[in-house]
Amino acid sequence: MMVGMRNQRSQLPSELAPEVTVEAIMARLVAGDTAAVFTLFEHHGHRVAGVVRRQLRHCGLHDIAFEDLQALVLDACMELVQVAEAWRPGGALPWWWAEGRIRAVVNGWVGVHADDLDDHVETVEDGEEFHAATDEWEIAETFAHLVAEVPLVGLVAEAARMAKVDELILLCLLDYQVQQDQGDPSPAHTLAPRYGVSPDALRQRVSRGRKRLRAVVDDDPRFAPLADFTLVA
């Protein structure tokens, strides 16, 4: 019966059996059913891990031991137990809704984080442009790597150029897609603060970007392989 977080299948929350849906688990936690914390960890631990990893990245930690990650996920799940009563179905998923609590767990584990100054001295001396770590930057960096390595991703970048979807809008589209794939029912609310716009404005930005991409993909046969991509749906 031992499965563990590592082997969990990435089902969307809507595909789960009724007894292990987020709503059912949170209701059981509120009712004082201690067994539900195991259900939460078993069926949604990988999603909580996503939030934990994100917070770790904010602290500059991109690679920690798997056991440490699991311990943090356990702590995060216990935090969710503490705040289960205040969570309301229909909004952000609990681990996004309680991201601040999870951040506190991670920060407590990391302690006062600081990069070694020596690691950056050369960068400054060489006059390289320095970028602070942000989520958009991480996505931008990953995307840039993939553009060079994966032809289909290169095609997405080319379609974006043709559609006059600028880099920021494209990142916003990608970010939005990531949130949706992680089961966030309201990506606009999650991402709006990050982009400094209202949820409505962000939704419009995504909608317009998708429409422009869609038009280019529909018109130009070169982009036919992208036709089924959710990004341009």
């Binding site: 019966m1 031992m2 499965v3 563990g4 977080m5 059996a17 007894e19 292990v20 059981r28 059913d33 201690t34 067994a35 539900a36 914390v37 195991f38 259900t39 960890f41 078993e42 069926h43 631990g45 056991e67 699991q70 311990a71 996920v73 356990l74 799940c77 216990m78």
Partner: protein, 79 residues
């Protein structure tokens, strides 16, 4: 290295122990088994042919391993 669910089970056992449970390990193992299956207490009790109240007592640490029916005892003992 302990599996993560074992770490969680250990934590729950410690929590129950602090609350005065006499058989905290048994209780934590039952909670882990039921929780991982995602079953309600009623469903779990029905499937194992035990009274819901007996399960409730076992899950708060009031029942020793020896008092559990055979199938449940094996479940509690299984890694």
């Amino acid at each position: 290295m302990a599996a993560p669910v074992d770490v969680l089970r250990h934590r729950v056992a410690q929590f129950l122990d602090l609350r005065g449970a006499r058989h905290a390990d048994v209780a934590a193992s039952l909670l882990a088994a039921r929780g991982r299956l995602g079953w309600s207490r009623e469903e779990f009790a029905r499937r194992f042919a035990i009274e819901v109240e007996f399960l409730r007592q076992a899950e708060v640490g009031a029942v020793s391993e020896g008092r559990l029916p055979g199938r449940l005892r094996r479940l509690v003992r299984s890694p």
